[in-house]
């Protein structure tokens, strides 16, 4: 199952963004994006970046937690 490498969001939160093809038109990688934490990754990247268990725990994100907001907007939409 394809979950987010950063926040472990479930598959339904993951968007396939773009498929990379070689000059012969064959699929060589796919870029994914997590709708929960906005992490973007390519499935050809080293495991240290895209494997939840191999990533440094420091960099995990919990989308439910409050994060600093830069320039809180005049009105939220």
């Amino acid at each position: 199952m394809n979950t987010c490498p950063r926040c472990q969001a479930a598959e339904e939160k993951i968007r396939a963004e773009h498929k990379g093809l070689n000059a012969q038109g064959e699929l060589v990688w796919t870029i994914f994006h997590c709708n929960a934490c906005e992490f973007t990754w390519r499935d050809s990247e080293p495991a240290s970046t895209i494997d939840y268990n191999k990533r440094e725990a420091f960099f995990r994100v919990d989308p439910e937690k409050p994060y600093p907001v830069i320039m809180p907007p005049a009105q939220y939409k």
């Binding site: 070689n22 060589v28 970046t49 989308p63 907001v69 320039m71 907007p73």
Partner: protein
């Protein structure tokens, strides 16, 4: 702002006339052995990062690197390190290889100003940037060979875009139109976040647009004239034009045209992405490996949607490696950070000889000054802390005599070793500090240090903890560095 000008040399004038775009500059660098092409097939990650770090090791003579064979991006070109070495900057200003940093500093000072801009305006139809135009179905992942710059970045960043925005409350004012480098994280095929803070010109534009509930339109210029990048990263006055500074430095006209959404843009850039602020929306952004060498954390920041894209045929995507220094970021902004501090100091203190604020955007500064009387250098240091850039950035200041080249660290160390008394070290507690400085007491506040390493004069009787970006290292990178040197020397080691 303006300083004393001297006429440009014939060579500088000729180079200024020849270079009208990134493409022109890459060709010129290549002729001078300062641009190589990486033709072997590489993966976007981690290969681009590995090669960029290895090429960037030589801050004096490292080459720009063009990539034309990235897996999954057939036919696409990426270039890194265009401003990656002082020799590349020297060539841009019409100097030979081997020009010292101090010589470059004085040359930039002599060209500094915006009072004599050289700007040509051409019709949009005649602008090379409009050779191709897209008005829907945007896919930045397809148009640009995007990749992750550092391994824990939150996504794929555009790190060297020159972003044009107009003051929504004074949209016809050319001077208040801002050109700045802001980090851009691609968030969707046609959307991105852009990091600015209220103190930046762009931040002011964002806040004004949201308060008045009016659209904020921007133009993101990619692959630009090399002088433009240097001034987009330079803090000039709010009502001063970065276009004017850049053209004046080159001594030759910059060609501008109008974007479809009303911005003045460079006519010869590789690509211009027109976009509009998504009013009130904030999205997760980061982490991003920043110039102090550590990651700035995850935040929620303003988001933009693409409204049109123009690009040249076969556009070249220019990006930057940034992280733990030395990196291209340091070379790109170092001299342009130093020059305004020098200009501001010499107004009051003509005894100031040179200012080196190359290190981490001036977190450490070295100022050379001719002591007028005992303790004078300390007064100059206090004044430096009060300059616009000094207020936030100049954290550690080392004051040296006028006989010490502040750009030569061996000389600076000699001054520290032989002319510093421990008593001449001043700590000023709880001062403002940039939020991303990992040594801040709390984000945005910390202590300043002044070391007076100038010699004695009468009446003197005497003669943390944060996450570090880990750039690729080890034998593999050593090999790449050797290979780069070989390629640069045309196969001769």
């Amino acid at each position: 702002m303006s300083t004393q000008k001297k006429p440009l040399s014939d060579k500088a004038r000729a180079v200024g006339e020849r270079i009208g775009s990134l493409r022109d500059f890459l060709e010129f660098l290549e002729e001078n052995g300062q641009c190589i092409t990486w033709t072997d097939e590489i993966l976007p990650e981690p290969d681009v990062r590995n090669i960029a770090v290895a090429a960037g090791r030589d801050s004096m003579n490292g080459p720009a690197v063009i990539f034309n064979n990235i897996t999954g991006y057939p036919g696409k070109k990426l270039v890194l390190g265009v401003h990656g070495s002082f020799t590349n900057l020297a060539l841009l200003l019409g100097h030979p290889k081997g020009t010292t940093i101090k010589e470059l500093f004085y040359d930039i000072i002599s060209r500094w100003g915006d009072d004599k801009p050289l700007l040509d305006f051409i019709e949009p139809d005649a602008a090379p940037v409009n050779e191709n135009r897209l008005s829907d179905n945007f896919n930045l992942y397809d148009l640009l060979p995007l990749y992750r710059i550092n391994e824990y970045d939150g996504g794929f960043y555009i790190g060297k875009a020159n972003v044009v925005s107009r003051d929504p409350r004074d949209p016809d004012n050319f001077g208040k139109q801002n050109v700045g480098i802001y980090r851009i994280q691609v968030q969707a095929p046609g959307e991105f976040t852009l990091l600015s803070v209220p103190a930046h010109d762009m931040g002011r534009h964002i806040m004004a647009a949201e308060q008045d509930n009016v659209p904020l339109k921007i133009a993101v210029m990619l692959g630009n004239h090399p002088a433009m990048c240097m001034f987009a990263a330079t803090p000039v006055g709010y009502d001063e034009s970065e276009f004017s500074y850049a053209s004046q430095m080159m001594g030759s006209p910059l060609r501008l045209t109008k974007s479809n959404n009303g911005m003045d843009i460079l006519a010869d850039s590789e690509m211009v992405i027109e976009a509009e602020l998504m009013n009130g929306v904030r999205s997760f952004e980061g982490p991003f490996g920043e110039f102090p060498g550590s990651y700035s954390g995850v935040r929620k920041i303003p988001r933009f949607k693409v409204t049109a894209i123009s690009h040249r045929n076969d556009p070249i995507f220019e990006n930057i490696y940034i992280g733990r220094g030395w990196t291209e970021h340091d070379t790109l902004i170092g001299l342009n950070t130093s020059a305004p501090i020098y200009a501001q100091l010499t107004k009051d203190f003509p005894e100031v000889v040179a200012v080196n604020a190359l290190y981490q955007h001036g977190l450490t500064g070295i100022i050379s000054v001719k002591n007028r009387f005992a303790g004078f250098a300390k007064s100059v240091a206090m004044r430096a802390l009060g300059t616009p850039h000094g207020t936030m950035y100049l954290k550690n200041l080392i004051m040296v005599d006028d006989d010490v080249d502040p750009f030569d660290l061996n000389e600076v160390m000699w001054a520290l070793s032989t002319r510093t008394r421990a008593e001449d070290t001043i700590v000023i507690p709880n001062m403002p500090m940039i939020p991303i400085d990992p040594a801040a007491e709390i984000a945005g506040k910390g202590h300043r240090l002044i070391i007076d390493a100038t010699s004695f004069m009468p009446p003197d009787k005497l003669g943390s903890d944060s996450k570090i970006v880990t750039p690729p290292a080890g034998p593999e990178i050593d090999e790449i560095a050797k290979l780069i040197q070989l390629l640069q020397n045309g196969g001769q080691s």
